[in-house]
């Protein structure tokens, strides 16, 4: 999209052992691909982790990045799900300045966003918020007037809608194969 940066969302099932992330990040690095967000956690299978990457780069660099990733032996499967029907979420912890007189107002606002309060201090309050990018962005913007002290975001995790599992057999080289790059709408969010 802007500045010729093409953005892809990639989900990978990987061996849970040392050095795997270095292999993956090395591949991104030498192809000039920037990791915009990365979320890692254990998967449903013992000994395997699932990673969700949002990466950006020139069209040629990101075009077949999932097939390059699949060459890494420690990756069981990497799928570029940018063009698929997916649900995604990210989690944010937002610490905002808040004196006693502001507390009621801030808590009212947080209700609109269905935000959880995870910590309250004398002069600050910390929210937990899960959702798509724009929901988090709007909430942060709203809190700006009070003074945002810290924003911690996990980056996107994503999965396909319905019962389809993410896997290599979902038609990477099927009839619909094309080198056209789908560009995620900047403001599109998960199903908020």
């Amino acid at each position: 999209m802007s500045n010729g940066i093409h953005r892809r969302t990639i989900v990978a099932l990987v061996h849970d052992k040392p050095g795997v992330l270095a292999r993956i990040s090395g591949l991104f690095r030498r192809r000039g691909v920037n990791i915009e967000s990365l979320a890692v956690g254990h998967s449903e299978q013992k000994g395997f982790s699932r990673m969700t990457f949002v990466v950006g780069g020139a069209e040629n660099s990101v075009k077949n990045i999932s097939s390059q990733l699949n060459k890494i032996i420690d990756i069981v499967d990497a799928s570029d799900i940018s063009e698929k029907n997916i649900v995604w979420r990210e989690l944010a912890l937002i610490k905002v300045k808040c004196n006693q007189s502001q507390r009621v107002e801030i808590l009212e606002l947080s209700k609109v966003f269905r935000v959880n309060v995870v910590d309250v201090g004398i002069n600050n309050i910390t929210f937990e918020l899960a959702g798509g990018k724009s929901k988090i962005d709007s909430f942060v913007e709203l809190l700006d007037q009070f003074g945002v002290m810290e924003v911690m975001r996990t980056g996107r995790i994503a999965t396909l809608r319905g019962a389809t599992k993410i896997g290599i057999n979902d038609g990477e080289f099927g009839e619909s194969n094309s080198s056209d790059i789908y560009i995620a709408d900047k403001d599109a969010s998960g199903s908020v």
Partner: protein, 564 residues
């Protein structure tokens, strides 16, 4: 206490033997001494001591390309391991199966910047297909067998195994039947061939008016030469090869149309450009063939047969990819392809050949590199194992040697590694002891790994080294002349040694040829000599390789011959 405990170093040796390894190339050093200490117990493993680890790696590479087996190199930690890197990168680019075993500092010293410590698994990540740091002896067996499996299957490549010094001495069990069971959920080299892809390709081939086959190294790796010949003859499709595809298709065949690209035959580049269908088989559309990717093959649809999914649509858009092992794919494809004759198209290709002969050797009083190769080709019946370095001599060898069915061609095509010529021939000769190995060298690359002549002499390997000696980095001279306003800088050697005396100093027969009249006699003399020979061919100082398509250019910028 278990009874079957053996040392980690013994597990390495036993696993090597179980993988069918008979020769390893390497140099000992501190961290790998425990392995060398054990090696003597295993006479089945012949060790070739090279003079530099790069030489060991290239020799293993040459051995692999000649035999089709996995090449094995040993090196110690630190500088020994880093010296392997050029050899690993060469093998990675050209899909050559290697297993490199490096010693590492002992486990307690790892991460302390210990003497001769390098993070070699970190350093070799981009130049290996996979690598391992083995932290306990009980893992060695399974890692060794996994490494060989990964190296030789799918798209082959180099695998490095880094073993700390104390792990070689640690005791563990080794059970071949258990340790050789491969469990790699992330690695599936045996692709199931998609019938739809085959059907789509068959339709394109049967409809094509002007099809052409671009055959690459994959054909040789997959041992699909006969199936390539079959489809070409059945559907009467002309065949061009890539640089590394040379020897995949007999060059004396009527359908053989040379190799296209930067220094390929003009008629090959033109035929590729005029075709309405390019069938790329085990080739990766390297930039030396493609040039300008936007302009490449503008008239044609493309079929791409390859085992590596990441190669599809990498640089060139493909209408019909077929993923799978080439031998298997052609086995399914060939019966479905119609028998055709394409008389009009073949006539056109013949016309390209006669209009653009491409391999004319210029008139000259002095000895030319092209003449040397041509004569060598004639006097070996196009039947030798031919190694090369990189540069003008490599291109002349590719152009003027006529590779017949039994020839083997070893050249660093992807990485373009000067210095490959001496050690790769060592591996080739050991891999093919009954064949005549000619290594065609430049005087530049020859000096990069010249120490390996000692390895040649020590093992009395009857390799024939032909130095095309012009006291220049000839290809650099050519590029500076053509693209840098003729400003020749740092491409002339004024301090070259006397290569004949040098050979003799190593105990190797040396011959000098500085004129055309002595050419045949010298080559025959070298061929008839039982031991190694270095022939110093003193050739014309400045001569260019033509045809040429400048880097990033297309067939429109083809330069066919020197403008006097």
């Amino acid at each position: 206490m278990k009874e079957n405990l053996i040392k980690g170093s013994e597990i390495v040796c036993k696993a090597l033997i179980n993988e069918g390894v008979d020769t390893v190339f390497g140099i000992p050093g501190g961290a790998i001494l425990p392995l060398y200490g054990t090696l003597n117990k295993f006479p089945e493993l012949k060790h070739i001591l090279t003079r530099h680890e790069q030489g060991a790696c290239h020799a293993a590479d040459g051995y692999s390309r000649t035999t089709g087996k996995v090449g094995v190199a040993f090196a110690t930690s630190g500088p020994g391991a880093t010296n392997l890197i050029t050899g690993l990168a060469t093998a990675m680019m050209d899909s050559v199966p290697l297993v490199a075993i490096t010693g590492q500092v002992g486990r307690p010293a790892i991460g302390t910047d210990a003497f001769q410590e390098t993070d070699i698994t970190g350093a070799t990540l981009p130049v290996t297909k996979h690598n391992y740091l083995v932290m306990k002896a009980s893992d060695i067996g399974s890692v060794m067998h996994e490494a060989f499996h990964i190296a030789r299957t799918g798209r082959p490549g180099p695998v490095l195994i880094d073993i700390p010094k104390d792990v070689f001495d640690e005791l563990a069990e080794y059970d071949f039947s258990k340790d050789s069971k491969i469990d790699l959920p992330g690695y599936n080299p045996y692709l199931k061939i998609d019938q739809n892809q085959i059907e789509k390709a068959v339709d394109l081939i049967n409809e094509a008016k002007k099809p052409i086959i671009l055959a690459g190294h994959g054909v040789i790796i997959s041992k699909a030469q006969n199936k390539l010949l079959e489809i070409a003859e059945k559907a009467q499709i002309p065949v061009v090869t890539t640089l590394l595809g040379i020897s995949a298709f007999p060059e004396d065949h009527i359908l053989s149309t040379g190799f296209p690209g930067m220094h390929g035959m003009a008629y090959a580049s033109i035929a590729l450009d005029e075709a309405d269908l390019i069938i790329a088989i085990g080739s990766r559309f390297d930039d030396r063939i493609v040039g300008n990717a936007k302009r490449f093959g503008k008239n044609s649809k493309k079929i791409h047969i390859d085992i590596d999914p990441a190669e599809i649509n990498k640089t060139i858009s493909i209408e019909a990819p077929i993923l799978g092992d080439i031998n298997e794919v052609l086995g399914l494809l060939n019966p479905k392809v119609d028998s055709k004759t394409h008389p009009q198209w073949l006539k056109e290709v013949e016309h390209f050949k006669s209009e653009h002969p491409s391999l004319m050797i210029p008139e000259s009083e002095t000895l030319l590199g092209q003449q040397v190769i041509k004569t060598l080709s004639d006097l070996t019946d196009g039947n030798a194992v031919v190694c090369t370095g990189v540069g003008q001599h490599q291109m002349w060898a590719a152009q003027h040697y006529t590779f017949n069915k039994d020839s083997v061609w070893l050249s660093s095509g992807g990485l373009g590694t000067m210095g490959y010529e001496i050690p790769s021939a060592i591996g080739a000769q050991i891999g093919a002891p009954d064949k005549t190995v000619w290594s065609i060298c430049g005087d530049g690359g020859f000096q990069m790994t010249i120490g390996e002549l000692a390895t040649v002499a020590e093992n009395n390997l009857p390799i024939k080294y032909a130095i095309l000696n012009n006291n220049h980095l000839g290809m650099i001279t050519q590029w500076q002349d053509m693209f840098y306003n003729g400003q020749n800088m740092h491409e002339t050697y004024t301090g070259n040694p006397d290569f004949v005396k040098l050979a003799e100093a190593y105990g190797i027969k040396g011959i000098r040829v500085d004129n055309q009249n002595d050419l045949e006699k010298a080559i025959n003399e070298a061929n008839n000599h039982k031991g190694p020979v270095v022939v110093d061919f003193v050739i014309e100082k400045v001569d260019y390789v033509f045809p040429m398509i400048p880097a990033g250019g297309s067939v429109d910028q083809l330069i066919e011959e020197e403008k006097k």
